[in-house]
C-alpha cells in the first residue's frame, strides 16, 4: 500500500478551499496551516504563464524528517504516511529544519504538526478533507499499488512532475502538468 496524491495544476484555480477544509477538519490553530497554495507566474507581460499548486507534505519515501528525529516521534504509518506522535515529540525542530518543502510547523502546544493525509478519514473509507472539498475536483487521492485508484488512473493518463526530486526525498505528491 502506498498512499499518494495528484494535484491537477491545470484545473486548480487557487481558491484555498483545501486550506480552509484542512484547518477545519484537523482543528489547525488560527494562523497556521498544513496545506497551502503556491502561484508561480513565469514570463514577461504579456506572455505570462501561471501555475497554481495546492501543496502539502509530500509524504516522502525517503523522508529526511523521519531520519533526523531523535525520539522516533516522526514515523511512517501504513501506506507510507509520515506522522508525528504528539506525545513522543520533544519539539526540537530538527524535522522542520530538515524538510526541503517546509511542510512542518511548530504547533503552539509544543509538538510539531503536519499534513496526515487525513489518516483518520482514510481509515473510515473516506478521502482526505482537501480532496473531498475541492470544487474543481483537481485533487486525486488513493493507493498507488492499486491500479484502479483515482491517483493511479490519473497518473497513467497525464504528464506529471514532483517537487525537487533532486533532493532525493522521493516525494509522493504528484503535480499534473
Amino acid at each position: 500500500m502506498r498512499y499518494a496524491m495528484a494535484v491537477d495544476t491545470r484545473k486548480c484555480v487557487g481558491c484555498s478551499d483545501c486550506v480552509v477544509a484542512c484547518q477545519t477538519e484537523n482543528n489547525v490553530p488560527i494562523g497556521y496551516c498544513r496545506d497551502w497554495i503556491v502561484e508561480v507566474t513565469d514570463g514577461t507581460y504579456p506572455q505570462l504563464e501561471m501555475e497554481i499548486r495546492s501543496e502539502r507534505c509530500n509524504q516522502c519515501v525517503n523522508a529526511p524528517c523521519v531520519r533526523c528525529c531523535p525520539t522516533g516521534a516522526s514515523h511512517f504509518a501504513d501506506g507510507g504516511i509520515v506522522l508525528v506522535t504528539q506525545t513522543e515529540c520533544i519539539g526540537c525542530g530538527a524535522c522542520i529544519a530538515s524538510c526541503p518543502y517546509d511542510a512542518r510547523y511548530p504547533h503552539p502546544d509544543g509538538y510539531v504538526d503536519k499534513c496526515t493525509f487525513c489518516i483518520h478519514r482514510i481509515k473510515n473509507g473516506m478521502k482526505p478533507a482537501c480532496v473531498d472539498v475541492c470544487p474543481t475536483k483537481c485533487l486525486y487521492f488513493g493507493d498507488l499499488d492499486d491500479p484502479n485508484s483515482d491517483v493511479s488512473a490519473v497518473l497513467r493518463k497525464r504528464k506529471y512532475k514532483t517537487l525537487i526530486p533532486e533532493a532525493g526525498t522521493k516525494p509522493q505528491l504528484y503535480f499534473l502538468i
Binding site: G14, S16, V19, G31, Y32, C33, D35, W36, I37, V38, E39, V40, T41, D42, G43, T44, P64, R67, C68, C69, P70, T71, G72, A73, T87, E88, C89, I90, G91, C92, G93, A94, I96, A97, S98, C99, P100, D102, Y105, P106, D109, G110, Y111, V112, L163, I164, E166, A167, G168
Partner: protein, 313 residues
C-alpha cells in the same frame, strides 16, 4: 523573469519567520559544546602523553570550565525545546540516523566525565579538599587508578562531541548551506581553537602559553583552509549551493562573516599570536578573547544563514 507568489495563511519563511526554527540557543550550545570538546580533548591528549606536568593548566585547571560550559549548553538546548516536559524521550530512544540522538547520548557520557575529571583534580586547586564520605574517597581512588582509560574515553567522546556539533547541521540536505561535510571538521577545529584559547587565557606559565599559542595557530590555519575548501565546494556545486555560498560572497551575511569570523576571529588573532611567538609582547587577553568571539560568531552566522538558504522550486 520568474515571479513566485504565495497565497494562503501558511507558515512560510517568505511570509513569516516561523520556519526560522533554531535561534540563539542552538548557536550558543554549538559554541559551548565545541569549546568544552576542545578543552577536554587537549587535556586528555596531554595526560595520555604524560605531559601533565608541562601543561598543568591545560590538564588540570582549564577542564574546570567544562562542567559549566556543558551545563549551560544543555540548559540552552532545553530552552530550545518546545515540548519541554517530553525531553526525557531522548534517552529512551537510540536513533543511529539522527545526529541529535547521537548528540544527546554523547552529552550523557561526556558531561559526567567532565565532572569526574574535575573531581580528580580538585585537590590541585584546593589542597585541603576532603570528600567527607568514605564512598566518595573510594570513587576518587577508583577513577585515579583507571585515569588513563578515562582519558581515552574522554578523548574519543570529546572528538565525537566536537564533530557532531557540525554534523548536526550538515545532515540537513534541505538547507544547502549546512549540507557540506566540511562543517564537522570545521566545528571541531574551531572548538579545539577555542579550547586552546581558554588555556591561553588561564595559564600563568610562559612555556605553556607559547605552546598553546602554537596550537591555536595551527587550528586557525586548519580553519582557514577548511573555509576556503567549503566555498570552493559550494561554488563548484549546484545552483542551490552556489546561492548558499553567495550569502557570504555579496549576500546578506557577507560583512558579518568576513569581519567577525574571518578577520576578527581568525586572521587578527593569528597575526597577534605570530608576533607573540616572535619578539613582541602581546597582552594574551586580546588574541584569546578574539578567538572565542570568532568561534561564537561562526556558530551564530552558520546557524542563521543556513536557515535562509533553501532549495529553489
Amino acid at each position: 523573469m520568474n515571479e513566485e507568489v504565495i497565497v494562503s495563511g501558511r507558515m512560510n519563511q517568505m511570509v513569516d519567520p516561523h520556519l526560522h526554527i533554531w535561534h540563539w540557543q542552538i548557536s550558543l550550545y554549538l559554541f559551548l559544546g565545541g569549546m568544552a570538546a576542545g578543552i577536554l580533548a587537549i587535556a586528555a591528549v596531554y595526560y595520555i602523553r604524560g605531559r601533565e606536568n608541562d601543561y598543568k593548566t591545560a590538564v588540570r585547571l582549564t577542564p574546570f570550565l567544562t562542567p559549566f560550559l556543558l551545563v549551560i549548553g544543555l540548559l540552552a538546548l532545553f530552552i530550545d525545546l518546545r515540548h519541554k516536559l517530553f525531553f526525557w524521550q531522548l534517552y529512551t530512544n537510540i536513533k543511529l540516523q539522527s545526529p541529535m540522538s547521537w548528540g544527546a547520548w554523547t552529552l550523557m557520557v561526556i558531561t559526567p566525565i567532565s565532572f569526574i575529571w574535575c573531581a580528580l583534580h580538585i585537590r590541585d586547586i584546593f589542597p585541603a579538599w576532603d570528600w567527607k564520605f568514605k564512598w566518595l574517597w573510594a570513587l576518587d581512588g577508583f577513577f585515579n587508578k583507571y585515569k588513563k582509560a578515562l582519558a581515552w574515553v574522554m578523548l574519543i567522546y570529546a572528538i565525537i562531541l566536537g564533530i557532531y556539533t557540525g554534523i548536526l547541521l550538515s545532515a540537513f540536505n534541505a538547507r544547502p548551506l549546512w549540507n557540506t561535510s566540511i562543517l564537522g571538521p570545521l566545528f571541531l577545529a574551531s572548538g579545539l581553537s577555542a579550547g586552546a584559547a581558554a588555556t591561553l587565557l588561564l595559564s600563568k606559565n610562559e612555556a605553556e602559553r607559547k605552546q598553546f599559542a602554537r596550537i591555536d595557530l595551527v587550528m586557525i590555519g586548519i580553519e582557514l583552509f577548511l573555509i576556503i575548501h567549503m566555498f570552493m565546494g559550494f561554488l563548484a556545486s549546484t545552483q542551490v549551493q552556489i546561492e548558499a555560498a553567495n550569502l557570504f560572497l555579496g549576500g546578506q551575511y557577507t560583512m558579518s562573516f568576513w569581519i567577525f569570523v574571518v578577520a576578527l576571529g581568525l586572521v587578527i588573532p593569528a597575526i597577534l599570536e605570530i608576533m607573540e611567538l616572535g619578539r613582541y609582547h602581546i597582552p594574551v587577553l586580546v588574541p584569546a578573547v578574539l578567538v572565542l568571539f570568532g568561534s561564537l560568531m561562526l556558530r551564530f552566522i552558520i546557524v542563521y544563514a543556513g536557515q535562509v538558504s533553501r532549495w529553489l522550486y
